[in-house]
């Protein structure tokens, strides 16, 4: 396939994936929440309520759009895009399967983190631009939360880069080939704290994507709807899609770095097209298992307090991730044959 054609095809795929994913994650979330809460959840709109996201989408898209009085019109309009676009861009480097990746670049990991920081800016501008006090509080919270959690997340990521010697996401996955105990999560021989590192990374990605129990920015019972308070219709919809896309990115990174990406748990990798599907299957399975955990956590735990959140980051996660970094470095240095 010629390269430009391939890229265009993948961009279409990625956008469709991101959009559909967001829509159907909302459905999953509502349905999952329903079942966790002893009720059914969406059921009447289409079979199993499957058309529910479609109805919501149509509704949101045809909602009146306006800029509230007192808001900064440019920031207000741009902010949702600044959440959505980087998330979609990040999809480009995610290897869904060995060859099923839009662009396999050497600094994929770096690129994702670069885009992930733009996402915060989107929320900040959205909160600020709304000219609403609740939104401003939410924006301020969001920034300090993201700053705090980016540090342990990056330290953990650096540890993983050190282990794999690459920032190419596909290479990182390839390094975990073989049985499932070759996945980094189980590689205690590389670092004794590997499961802890995974936990740190997962917690950080929860915090980075503003998910419960760290949903400070959209604390409904405190700040109405946080940074989204003033957004009507599709502005809100785009924020929402961005949020879910970010969840997918966060979970996909966890899967790639620790859970073997598209590797199957047994050393069986068919070649050709079947192999692509085989990898895709395992990748999505792991991805959605993690996403389900995220949903599960949301409907189980109350929200943390803000200072607890920062305490957790500065006093627990950062020291642990630093310690992990040192330990891993030592282990690699002492047992170089691993």
């Amino acid at each position: 396939m010629p390269e430009p054609f391939r890229v265009i095809l993948f961009i279409i795929f990625v956008m469709a994936f991101a959009g559909l994913n967001a829509a159907y994650l909302v459905w999953c979330e509502r349905k999952g929440a329903g079942h966790i809460q002893r009720r059914i959840g969406p059921k009447e709109v289409g079979p199993f309520g499957l058309l529910q996201p479609l109805a919501d989408g149509i509704k949101l898209m045809t909602k009146q759009l306006f800029i509230p009085k007192g808001a900064d019109p440019i920031l207000f309009m741009v902010a949702p895009l600044m959440v959505m676009v980087p998330a979609i861009m990040s999809f480009c480097v995610i290897p869904f399967s060995e060859t099923f990746v839009a662009r396999e670049i050497n600094i994929g990991l770096l690129m994702i983190f670069a885009f992930a920081s733009v996402n915060v800016l989107g929320l900040l501008l959205g909160g600020w631009g709304s000219g609403n006090k609740y939104a401003v509080i939410a924006a301020a919270r969001c920034v300090s939360q993201n700053v705090a959690y980016e540090i342990p997340m990056l330290i953990t990521t650096i540890t993983m880069v050190m282990v794999t010697n690459t920032m190419n996401l596909n290479e990182i996955v390839r390094a975990q080939a073989g049985w499932f105990f070759h996945w980094h999560f189980f590689r205690l021989d590389i670092s004794l704290l590997m499961p802890v590192a995974f936990l740190i990374f997962f917690i950080c990605s929860l915090a980075e994507t503003n998910r419960a129990p760290f949903d400070m920015a959209e604390a409904e019972s405190e700040l109405i709807a946080g940074a989204y308070t003033e957004y009507p219709g599709m502005g809100f919809g785009v924020f929402f899609m961005g949020e879910y896309a970010n969840i997918v990115i966060g979970c996909a990174l966890s899967v790639i770095l620790f859970l073997g990406g598209w590797q199957s748990p047994i050393p069986f990798n068919p070649a050709g097209f079947i192999g692509v599907l085989w990898g895709l299957f395992w990748f999505l399975l792991k991805l959605y298992a993690l996403i389900f955990t995220v949903i599960w956590i949301r409907w189980t735990y109350p929200r943390t307090q803000f200072y607890e959140l920062l305490n957790l980051s500065w006093k627990v996660l950062i020291p642990f991730s630093l310690f992990n970094l040192i330990l891993t470095a030592l282990q690699i240095k002492i047992f170089p044959w691993l």
Binding site: Q37, R38, P213, A219, S221, R298, P302
Partner: protein
């Protein structure tokens, strides 16, 4: 709101209007907050957004016609309010109540108390950002509503008590249903404790948050679980026994800490105590009439003023009647517990972070129409 943001940005503090429509206020309460960042410098609740003139109606309607209003003041524990009002009028007019009716009153009031506490439990955790307990609490609450509906005829705004008795007798289905429900709730309570009470996030958010000292509770006249959470052993059912409460063996849970966790624990323990009372009342339930032999037709309490307090789900609910000897009250003062409980919010929340203040507010168990009356 938007215009004032620009002004406030130039100052050290800014004002924030919490409500009258805000998810955390459980209704139409407005709190004017002066904030320094996320710290509360000053909080002033503004009431009256659901002031429904109950006291004026008390002066306009005959004694009997005021009965439905009781269920609409505190719709979560409507039967306590029924009880308070009915008992006050009975005291004033000297009406005797058959023993069976008193037992039925206690049974239904305690069931209502459980349902009120369950709803509070859910809504409180919802304030803290946990959604699911609310749905579980509602699941249990629906069972109580079914039971109460079979007796009283309504789901929420009960008007079950009459002067001198109750309106309807219970049947065997109610008794077995209630016993089954208690068995079921006994099984569920450990689950609530395991899932919610012992949750580390919840503990961190409630422990030492919003302390209310004994003295503060007294100065503001706080009663009910709020006072009991501050180490004050005060329960009208014990302190000033009315109805047939002296015949039951129950504890008054008291916690010394005075923080939100203490208030939470008081209410959770009260659910258990209420279940004990209901069980005992069902065991001891005497046969007999549920209304006086000679039906109470016209109520005309003699001239004078009378006071009657009962322990509602949220504290001491008092009715002060001033009668001029006619079939209408000359003055009907309703002392609602949350009114006093909320009045300490301003002092207690000073210097707190906004989410902590909301945890404190949730732990006060507000029902706004009861505050505004």
């Amino acid at each position: 709101m938007n215009g004032s943001l620009q002004q406030d940005l130039n100052q050290e503090t800014f004002t924030l209007n919490l409500g009258p429509q805000h998810p955390a206020t459980h209704g139409v309460l407005r709190v004017k907050l002066v904030m320094d960042g996320e710290y509360i410098v000053e909080a002033e609740p503004v009431l009256g957004y659901i002031h429904r003139m109950h006291e004026k109606m008390g002066e306009n309607r005959t004694w009997v016609k005021f009965l439905p209003n009781c269920g609409r003041m505190d719709y979560l524990s409507a039967l306590s309010y029924n009880h308070g009002y009915v008992a006050a009028v009975e005291r004033a007019a000297g009406i005797e109540v058959p023993e069976r009716a008193e037992y039925l009153r206690v049974i239904t009031v305690e069931l209502n108390r459980i349902s009120s506490h369950l709803l509070w439990f859910g809504a409180f955790v919802l304030d803290l950002g946990g959604f699911t307990p609310l749905l579980y609490a509602f699941d249990d609450r629906e069972q109580i509503l079914d039971l109460l509906e079979s007796v009283t005829g309504s789901r929420l705004t009960y008007c079950y008590f009459r002067f001198g008795g109750v309106y309807n007798d219970i049947d065997d289905a109610f008794i077995t249903g209630t016993r089954e429900f208690i068995k079921r709730l006994r099984k569920r309570m450990p689950m609530y404790h395991a899932l919610v009470t012992k949750n580390i996030i919840l503990i961190k958010r409630l422990k030492d948050i919003g302390p209310i000292s004994k003295d503060m509770a007294r100065r503001y006249g706080a009663t009910g679980p709020v006072a009991r959470g501050s180490g004050i052993n005060f329960d009208v059912r014990r302190h000033e026994p009315y109805s047939v409460y002296p015949e039951f063996d129950f504890d008054v849970p008291v916690y010394e800490e005075g923080d939100s966790m203490a208030r939470y624990m008081v209410r959770m323990d009260e659910i258990e105590q209420s279940m004990r009372i209901v069980e005992q009342a069902l065991d001891k339930l005497p046969e007999g009439d549920i209304q006086p032999k000679k039906a109470v037709k016209l109520v005309k309490p003699p001239k004078g003023d009378y006071y009657q307090a009962v322990e509602a789900a949220r504290g001491s609910f008092g009715v002060r009647l001033v009668s001029d000897g006619t079939n209408t009250a000359y003055r009907l003062k309703l002392r609602s517990p949350t009114y006093s409980n909320l009045s300490l919010f301003g002092e207690a929340s000073r210097g707190m972070l906004l989410p902590d203040a909301l945890a404190l507010m949730g732990s006060l168990d507000l029902v706004i129409p009861e505050i505004d009356r």
